[in-house]
């Protein structure tokens, strides 16, 4: 080889290197392990991934949501297995610094991520990476999630010095955005003020319906995704109820009740109906509980179908009841409630409070038997109820029904659901709004034994077979109910109006209707609050219900008495806690 030719390599190498050095991103590496900021929010699929990320994170607050809303309230208590962090919540002790259950971190994380998603959606829309329609749907959904998270956080947390929770609507993604100056400059909103903000935000979202995009309405691991997304109308109903806009609240709730437009949907969907087949068969029971037909006074014939709503998935019954529910899948994320509640396969940290059990046990059924199918009502043909007694220990079942029934020897049996909103709650919320809106009878009917039974409404001048004015409220929206059902011989003949199957929350589980004596408004509201405890116990509604009513009546005793009663019943210092809770400041956990 000639020396000159041998020079080629070093020279070429040198030139290559030097030319390399001139390209601007020599030291920028692509990341395969993570997604760098320029690898996300490029198109609609990225936007959908961000939405799934938000709902995925929402799953992470499932247990904390239940613990905060139930353990801090009056229906749930700790077992001897629970550690200090749960005791502190149940007994309203000052919380330790490292109490993860009492940390708002996950809520803030969700809010931060929602804000980041919203900000990026805005940019995508502006840069035409999302159409107006695509943007509206997605943006509205994430605003609703954020609002719900805010409401939940504000129910439990408040800054010790400034009060309330900070109102953050911009992402805190880097140390500059999260600098001390930015954070101290935030506005802190007290719960009622926050509700105003949330309501204003929610009322202004451009889209209040369900997604209609195939990328989001799909089947994920065998579960329909439709019910996984937050129901914006329900949230709006709730916020209006918090705010005191009762008519508006009732309208939103009524909208949901009226969603069924054809076929069985128009009679059954979210309408709290009786078992049309009257057999209490698992496939058609609509979660009615009672006794075998013609054996109404035989304790042995009790048949508890109501709890199947927590066990079944994607059945007709199920779809008529559930409004918002998220799923635990054994292969991706096993049911995190098992650890909290189960005795077998879990740590059994939480149990029903003695007070809650008493509430159910003191209910009177239509046949004058005592007890409530929704508590623990031993029966041969159905399921136990909200809890079961195993070897003398009460075990909460609502969240672990799949685990309880299917067993727990393999991972496939660690499925489960996170129950958020359903027809039972919808009807009680509607009742609450109607009652406050002066429609005591509507409220009473919905809560007790249905529209039909409470609106005989016969016209004295009309023939006996004229049902024209019967079984109807004859009120304008949202109090318009038509429960007529007629035979061929009746007038008008062969009529099946949408509400004819409505049976009422209490009647669905064969409970006697409440009697109303005194001021209907307060008495019915108290009954609704009590009914919420019986129907929705452990589902994460209780603390909110107590706070809402207490704030509305400006009477902290509503909350303080309930919790004091729980502690007294469990043998703790209920009176001390009552005194503390009479000061609204003490309802809230510190923001740390």
């Amino acid at each position: 080889m000639r020396p000159t030719r041998l020079l080629t390599f070093p020279v070429v190498a040198a030139i290559t290197l030097l030319s390399c050095l001139s390209c601007g991103d020599l030291l920028r590496t692509g990341a395969d392990e993570v997604l760098l900021a320029d690898e996300v929010y490029r198109n609609k699929e990225d936007a959908d991934a961000a939405i799934r990320g938000i709902y995925g994170q929402l799953m992470d607050v499932a247990t904390q949501y239940v613990v905060l809303n139930e353990l801090r309230a009056d229906l749930m208590d700790v077992t001897n297995n629970a550690g200090l962090s749960l005791m502190e919540l149940s007994w309203h002790m000052p919380v330790s610094h490292n109490n993860e259950w009492a940390s708002p971190r996950r809520f803030f994380s969700l809010i931060n991520n929602c804000n980041d998603v919203l900000e990026n959606f805005r940019i995508m829309y502006k840069e035409n990476r999302l159409t107006r329609e695509q943007y509206n749907m997605r943006y509205s959904d994430i605003v609703a999630v954020r609002s719900w998270v805010y409401l939940q956080m504000a129910l439990h947390f408040a800054d010790a010095t400034r009060g309330g929770v900070p109102w953050i609507t911009k992402p805190l993604g880097d140390t500059g955005e999260a600098s001390a100056e930015t954070l101290t400059g935030l506005q802190y909103l007290d719960l009622p003020v926050l509700v105003d903000s949330l309501l204003a935000t929610m009322e202004s979202i451009p889209f209040k319906d369900h997604y209609s995009d195939g990328g989001l309405i799909t089947t994920i691991d065998g579960y329909e995704s439709r019910l996984m997304y937050i129901d914006k109308e329900y949230l709006l109903g709730e916020l209006n109820l918090w705010k005191g806009n009762y008519l508006r609240a009732a309208q939103y709730f009524k909208n949901i009740m009226e969603r069924g437009q054809s076929g069985n949907d128009q009679y059954d969907l979210y309408k709290m109906v009786y078992d049309a087949s009257a057999t209490l068969d698992q496939t058609s029971c609509r979660f009615n509980s009672g006794y075998l037909r013609y054996y109404g006074n035989d304790r042995q014939s009790a048949k508890n179908m109501w709890p199947y709503m927590f066990y079944e998935t994607q059945t007709a019954n199920y779809l008529y009841e559930w409004i918002w529910v998220l799923y635990f899948d054994p292969l991706s994320e096993p049911n995190s409630f098992i650890g909290l509640f189960a005795k077998d396969g879990g740590s059994y940290l939480l149990k029903p409070s003695a007070l809650a059990m008493e509430k159910w046990d003191s209910q009177v059924q239509n046949n004058s038997f005592r007890g409530d199918f929704r508590g623990y009502y031993d029966n041969l043909y159905g399921l136990p109820g909200s809890y079961v007694v195993e070897n003398g220990d009460p075990v909460i079942l609502k969240h672990i029904y799949n685990h309880y029934i299917d067993g727990h020897t393999t991972i496939t049996q660690r499925a489960g659901k996170w129950h958020l909103w359903r027809a039972g709650g919808l009807h009680l919320r509607y009742s609450e709004a109607a009652n406050r809106n002066g429609q005591h009878r509507v409220a009473y009917a919905i809560m007790n034994n249905g529209i039909g039974a409470n609106y005989p409404g016969a016209d004295p001048d009309a023939p006996a077979n004229d049902f024209t004015l019967r079984s109807q409220t004859l009120l304008p929206f949202p109090y318009d109910f038509d429960a007529r059902t007629t035979s061929l011989a009746q007038l008008p003949p062969n009529l099946r109006m949408p509400w004819h199957r409505n049976t009422g929350v209490r009647n669905r589980v064969s409970l006697q209707r409440n009697s109303v004596e005194g001021d209907s408004l307060t008495v019915i509201e108290n009954q609704i609050l009590e009914e919420c405890a019986l129907e929705l116990a452990f589902e994460g509604q209780r603390w909110g219900d107590l706070v809402r009513i207490a704030l509305r009546r400006n009477d902290p005793a509503v909350l303080a008495d309930a919790i004091a009663a729980k502690l007294n019943r469990a043998g703790h210092d209920g009176e001390g806690v009552r005194t503390r809770l009479m000061d609204r400041k003490n309802w809230f956990l510190p923001l740390e």
Binding site: R28, A37, R52, L84, F108, S109, N112, L172, G173, P330
Partner: protein
Amino acid sequence: MNYLLKILIAIGFIAFQPDVSAQETASSGIRVSGEVFSVLTGKPVELALVNCGDFSSTFTDEKGEFTIEARSPDDIISVSAQGYHPKDILLSGRSRVSVYLSGEETHSFQEQAWFGYFSKKQIYTTQSVVSVRNTVAESAKSGIGSGEAVFDGRVAGLEARARNGIKGAGSDLFLRGYSSLYGNNQPLVIVDGMIFNTQSYGTSLIDGYRSNPLASIAEYDIENVTLVRDAASIYGAKASNGVVFIRTSKATQQATVIDLIMNGNYEMAPDNIPMLEAGQYRTYLNEILLSKGLTADSINRMPFMNTDPSVPGYYKYQNNTDWQKKVFADNYSSNVGLRIKGGDDVALYALSVGFSQQKGTVKGSDNSRFNFRFNSDINFSQKVTLNSNISFNYIKKNITATNIFSYYDAVSQARVKAPFLQEFIQNDQGVASPDLTNYDFLSVSNPVSLIENGQNEDMNNLLFASLNFNWDLSRNLTLSNLVGMSVDKQRQSVFIPRAGIAPDSTDAGVIENQMKARVLRHFVINNDIRIKYEPRLGVNHSLMLLAGARLNVNTLEEDWGADFNSANDQIRSLGNGNYLLRQKGGTIGDWSSLVWYLHSDYGLKNKYLFTLNLGLDGSSRYGSKADGIPMFGTRFCFYPGMAAAWIISAEPFLAGSRVVELLKLRASWGLTGNDDIGNYTAQKYYVAKNLLGYQGTMMGNLWNPALGAERNSRINAGLDMSFFRERISASVDIFRNKTSRMFDYVTANILTGFYGYYDNRGGFTTNGIDAMVRARVANRPLEWDLGIVLSKYATKVDDLFDQKRITPVFGANILTEEGRPLGLFYGYATRGVFAGDAEALQSGLSNRMANESLVPFRGGDVIFEDFHPDGIIDENDMQVIGDPAPDLTGEIFTELRFKRISLQASLGFSVGNDVFNYLRYTLENMSTTNNQTTAVVNRWRYQGQATEIPRAAYGDPMQNSRFSDRWIEDGSYARLKRVSLTYRLPVRSKWVHSADLFATGINLLTFTKYLGLDPEFSLNGFALSQGIDVGMIPQNEMVLLGVKLGL
């Protein structure tokens, strides 16, 4: 500062002067005469070559006398002769000099140190540099290890802490302690000018085992190792732990030289940990089951309590098995290496091939290595040369067991298994069958089954190659480009059988057998282009300027899969298990860095020496707003460093002294950094967040765009000395290494929802002193060399964003607190054991239980010191109970030579370091049915019993075995690491030029009070896990016999 400025200006001035010809001063030459002697014999050296630069040259006569012309009274003359270190003599005005040459085998500052780009005599170095020479003969005696064995114990300030005794596991290197809390603490290793990766990436499937890249460098391929202990700023943000330059073999002459080494060694099985015998264990088991709540009656009905031989199953429980003997065994290893050097005037080459097979002390474990290296130096023309270095290695290990506790680690199971059982199934007459038993009624696996049926295999191959082109542009100017690559591939394959192994329950189901596999690929490209300018400036000035750019591009991918419950133990590959249990994972990482560097040396009159180092370091890892200059999409940090030295012995008042041969004062300061901050930590990123099985995204970090490298400033002052014609040489360095802008995880404001973010906050300082003394105690006929290296350092945390934090590591609590040393053990102090309930009651102490209730201590409980006096023992009573940092470490080494026999020995020691004996913590806690050490024979058993060992209690409700000073021991030790006897056979045949026979004993003696098996270990390289001995496979005594032939 003005002074420095002047020097800089002077350097600049000189650099731009036209080449000053040496010939100009030729006329003003002066005559110097002298004589050359050998230190070894005291006799004159004949025919020694005497040079004065390239100005004049001569040889000594038979009386060792010479006369030579020098350019100035401050000139240097150099003298070299075969078998001696070439020596530079500074005239310092003298016209007659006596030169004493010391033999090549002794230590001398006249030796060359190698810096990757250039070499320099140690007498002229301004920085804290130690150079270690290595020969094939030396390596042959040391057995088989990995590259670091060459310099282990020879360099003050360097601790090569053996990780454990697993063959080929290697050492963690610590040069002057720690520089980073969460980042890499290993020094940068440069092999033949190219960055060599020493980090172990990814997650090993074999608990307790980490890959050891240095194992791929055969010791006999190493010729020189130079360590820069102070700031090597030209390596920028990779040099915060110092730099180790390794130069592999090179041919220096055309004659063919062949070396063949063969050795074999015999290693003794480790000592057994004294565990309870069958009878003692039965009593213990009875007691622990009682404390579990079982009734005496139900225990008595258990089969192991049966005393009637006629009852079936009696014999099954009547053994006395020493389970540790079933897993450990003596073993034999062998090693063959061949090296050929030679060439012609165009190319010189050095080729080496080696194969070794080592067995480990755990039965079934081994380590096989094949290594190949081909280095060549090719002269394409007078101006263009090429150095190529190509090496390839293949290493395969069967690890069998590491003793990290699990149901499927043979050693850990052997220690806890009931001694009254045995490994073979016995019939009702007590006759054993050849079939192995299943796991036992206490859920302990059969260790023998694990060894025979299990597999823990690790394979690794590394191709490390570089081509370095040099182009002499002019007489003073050389352009070089090194381009190289490193292709590292690691594979692990694990199989845990079902037979004999206790099943493991997980959330997902019961695990019966396990199949795991992992592949890691690490591909690196390096390019280093540089220009060297070395003008000839006459006698009084010398200058070298080196400037270049170094690019390092990495891609790493790791993939692993784990599958469980295949149909039977013969089906061992992934994909045959239960899909519900299947797991997979991996990592992918890309990173690259670019460093522009400048190194310059300036010498004034050969005795005032100055060095300036500059590094401008940029990495893909830095944040966009990190400290530094924005270029190429990232930030570049500036790392200056400077050093100066004064050769005092060259001053006229010391020149020619019979006592002082060399006296050199050095001082240096420089900045370095640590870029081990994670590949994407400083980028804003999103991570996967699934909704059920459908992938979604969420924010991954609270992005800190200002995150950059850690900064480490290194100040060093040192003295190099040699006396009595180099018979004694010594070196002392004091240093201060200060880490600032420390890479730390800072708690974020809760409003962000993030736990924290990475930031450059806080720092710590290490102060220390390193000393080395080497002496030729006696000369012929018995030559005796003695050396000692000592080092001592102390690290203090200066600044921590949270002032104080406690990190749990393997049951220990490690304290990091401002103003205190790094890595302290933080736990409970104990004061013995309560002899009785009355004494316990009197103390008034109670224990805070996990559920916050208070339970009073009783007899047999440990007396914990109520440090925060409130009568309650809880976490407020924790205090510092030990410091894992040694007060002093060092090594003493000696060599005796008499005629054909030589004897070498080295003794390593460490004083004042505390060790957390985790193994004892797990084997003496008396809280499970596991077998315990014999210490528990003295456990508290009745009221009034005075003892140091608490009562046995199932589950340890009173936490008597919590992390306390009961488990902290003095880890001081002195170990005879190596003693080696060599006999040089008097052969001189046509085929065999030389033959050395040698016998070496390794780790023959260890003096220590430490109760663990091996006082020398390293859990990992992290600053917060020092001194935690998890009881991995210990290093053992070994005897090695071998031969080295020169062909």
